[in-house]
Amino acid sequence: MLSVGALAFLNPWLLAALAALPALWLLLRATPPSPARISFPGVRLLLGLEDPEKTPHRTPWWLLVLRTLIAAAAILAFAEPVLNPQAEREGDGPVVLVMDGGWASAHDWELRREAALAELDRAERAERPVSFHIIAASVPEDLRLELRPAARWRGAVEAAQPAPFAPQRLGFAGALGAAPGLEDASVVWLTDGLSHGDDGALADALARADGLRMIYPLVPPVALSAPRIEEGELLISAMRTPEDASQTVRIGVFGRGDIGERRLATLEAVFEGGEGVADAAVDLPLELRNQISRFAIISQESAGATALTDESVRRRRVGLTSGASEDGALRLVSNLHYLRAALSETADVVEGGIEDLLQTNPDVMALADVGRLTGPEREALEAWVEAGGMLIRFAGPRLARGADLAAADAASLSESDPLLPVNLRAGGRAVGGAMAWGAPQAIRDFNRESPFFGLTAPREVTVTRQILARLGPDLAEKTWAALEDGTPLVTSSGVGAGRVILFHVTANAEWSSLPLSGLFVDMMGRLVSMSGAGGAGELPDDVEPMRPVALMDGFGRASAAEGDLTPVAAARLKDAPAPDAPPGLYAGAQARVAYNLFAEPVELEAAAPAPLSAVVERLEGRTEQRLAHWLIGFALILLAIDLLAALWLSGRRIRLNPTAAALALAALSPLAALSPLAFAPQAEAQEVEVDLERALIAANNTVLAYVVTGDDQVDRISEAGLRGLSSYLTSRTAIEPVEPMAVNLETDDLSLYPMIYWPITERQPTPSDEASARLNEFMRNGGMIVLDTRDAHLARAGGTGPNAQALRRLVAALDFPPLAYVPQEHVLTRTFYLLDRFPGRHTGGRVWLQAPQRTDEGLDAADALIADPNDGVSPVIIGAADWASAWAVDQNGDFMLPVGRSNGFRQREMAFRFGVNLVMYALTGNYKSDQVHVPALLERLGQ
């Protein structure tokens, strides 16, 4: 084999024939085409005539070039050129198969797995032992090559899953590099093309082997950084290796609501050429924004392309109330001015009366100098604090007066106010005034127990007046901040799930200069971030153990952590995830932290160039392509041209005769197939005509449609299934559908079909954006899609089957409503037959549809119609029972596939009944659901 770049020749010795081309040239030149022969009766008269001049005869140059080209093409063709040859493995030593297997391998995991299996196949054929390593794992102490027959590895490769962290290149570089026996092995490394900070160490270590082949991915991975808040905006960054091309990445924003996770929004991050980081801002109403649980790049399922959120990005809502009347004219002495200024950056600020504010469900309530609370206000506030609210109160003249009264009460009742953390002493204290003894007091450094620990109190912040707490045994631990002389400045106590905090000074600059300082802003920021359930999103102390609550797998799916995971120290979470600390949600005593692969937006770093000795390939990108047939075809076309030219030269004109032309076309059609573009316009015109015809049929009749998956077998079954269902419908119900139709999501008009059956196959191409948009439009306008993953028999008990992932991929861009299992008594169970399960070819497997909406009493009929234009019909039904196979009948009306055990008569009948209900449901809308209520209505009328 001889290779030139990506081209190789299987029979290179035939290329020697190319050397004969000049000789051929000369030969052709010397033998011009024979002269034209003409039958002419007058020839006798010509006999004996002499030509007036003699000219030498040469073959025309273009004919020479043409013929030489034909010869060259034929020689090249027989030398069997191959594009991207899969070099046959040299040697017969062991094969070491290394997979990166980290998060960056997840998005094309199927391809990788197939490539790995292909390598195994090859090794098996050559009877070479294999050792298989995934390096996104903890590095074993003493790594040895584990040589086994290739077939024995198959299970391991098939079961392998990507890890949610980066491959441990450096560790494995040492371990693999030192593994004995590597020198004799040839290494195949399926890499993800990123550096992961190893700087080519692993490649260098592997280059020690008897041959290194590196297989790079076709599509470079894209990652997401942890979401962050900048200037009040929630930002998320997509990251890639810097490339020249610009790229748009769609980021799905998912939130956890009452009914499970759903998509809240889709963002677009645009990488300009050369850039590696692209930001996208989340623009959502606060309620939705605070529901966000994760971000994920659509169409790239990997841990790196998923970012979990924690409390740190939640934007809090703070309610502000002042005891004093607010006058616009006196802004700087306003009770709330400094609070507003301090909070506007970090939280949503609302103002109003206490009860009004509580209606808006704030995380924090700040009461500035509110002395007296009315009974209902007090009750509402107490309930709210108990439920987890954070109440921040500021002292002031009114509070002081209230405290005086409370002190009088307390004397008799000895009962403390739950809305104050400490009992207050009557009367305040003034320091540094004209009548006072001492100088104004500064703030003491915060101690470790205080949430303000770490902030520094500037010396110039002084307090001139304060309200004093009554001494008690727990005063010290309730104190979060104190003055130099030890009197408390901020006290706090927990009430139920919530917390009450008291600033012993006013919220304006009257009593102290604290509100004027930056410290005030920081203190408020800390307090606000503490608010809400679960506590702060900031990492606590380094040593505090953090327990994993939910962990991500390599595809970026978070699932509840198993119980036996050891907690990690909080300090560990500052570093990148690794086998000992996979990304996910971690909880400490107070903090609950999202631990993402990328804390900060940084460009992904491409891997160092492969070592010179390595063979570099790409996943799927390098399939062998034989070129011989193209060359032969090319030579044949040239030969045809040459034939015509020779005919023309010898004076034989070709008359265009319709039959002959048709014959010639027929003869040329194999050639035409080589250049499909030539005939494309005609074909398209034809298609339009067919389309019209189809559209007319579909519009004038009820037609069941199925999505073409590209898998012949599945499509055939879909069609047969819908045909079977159609005939069943015709015989049992008033619905008389005509022959089912195939629908191509990319090209066909969907609006003509009431119901589209969509079987899911793993190989199906993801619908383009336009197709997804049209599907969304279809669902919005009353269409129904029945998705069938056809794998109920493969699903683990209660879980999803293998096609669920394909389903997720296919419908990633679709706008599904919240889904739920089919509830008992749902309309679908009684549109025609009364059903309690929905078997297809397989039993089991649950059926999902749009979660029933809670009926709001306030909503009248018109509003309800606007809110739900689909007339109560779920736009999507998802199941796994492979219904089409149960329905499928062939042209003779015989069932095509066996169903269930024994003859499965009952199960098939039930499958058909489900089909009837399904079509009825799709066609009759809420009419049937009204019918369901008829007994109830009659009963009510009877009363």
């Binding site: 002269p35 034209a36 039958s39």
Partner: protein, 308 residues
Amino acid sequence: MADRSTDTTAKRVERVGAGWLRRDAERISGALPPLLAEAERLAASVAPGVHGRRQAGSGETFWQFRTAQPGDPHQSVDWRRSARSDQMYVREMEWEAAQTVSIWRDDALSMDFKSDRAARSKSDRAALLSLAIAVLLIRGGERVSLLGTDAERPGSGENQLQRMGAILTDTREKRPDFGAPPRADFARGGRAVFFSDFMGARDEIFPSLTHAAEAGVSGAYVQIVDRAEETFPFDGRLIFESMGRGVKFETDRARGLQKEYKDRLAERRRDLEQTARRCGWRCLIHRTDESPRKALLWLYAAIAGGLR
């Protein structure tokens, strides 16, 4: 070759027009060869202007009375007429004895030539003219024979026409490249018409022509040529072949030969005309792109005029 001729026949049938179906049917049944039909149509355009012999002879129609000469038999004296005067009169009938006209249509391969722009081959034209003149002659009561064929025995009437039509549309096998008039036993005093291109070898054609003259017949040569044979519109490197591939001539630049070819053609025609003049024949050059009527009129005048 046979294929081609049936092909042209079929085309001809088509070209005749709306009546093709009936004629085609008749052709198949053999009742009326299309050639005959076409020839009759062509003859019909000529016949009305031509009249009888205007000559005394044996016949049934009265011609004139003349005074009896010594030697006239008794029987020929018309007694009724003679009784009215002193002289004896003989009643003469118009001469109605049929003449024999021999027609030779060259059916050599060279006659099959048809250049790109010509509508018909020379052979077709020759057959058409042969049959048309035969129709005219037979209508005039003459006896016609087709030399070199089964219809060589002179005959008259519709039967002879049918036979000739069939022969003329048929193609015989083993035709030579070039044809020469046959040395048949001509009826002395008869007439003859030779249709050919006279492109064959000199020493085959001219002795035959002289032979016919020596046999005591007079008549006409019709040289039928294609337009391409007159203009020689060829150029480039070519091999000229006779129709049967028997004769070959290769040239590097055909156009250079045009003048010399034309000279030779003119010389051949001059020879033909000279021979004709010497033998008392007449000579016509007919090109296939000319109207056949012109040639027919000329021919009729030449033959019938001589017969008068």
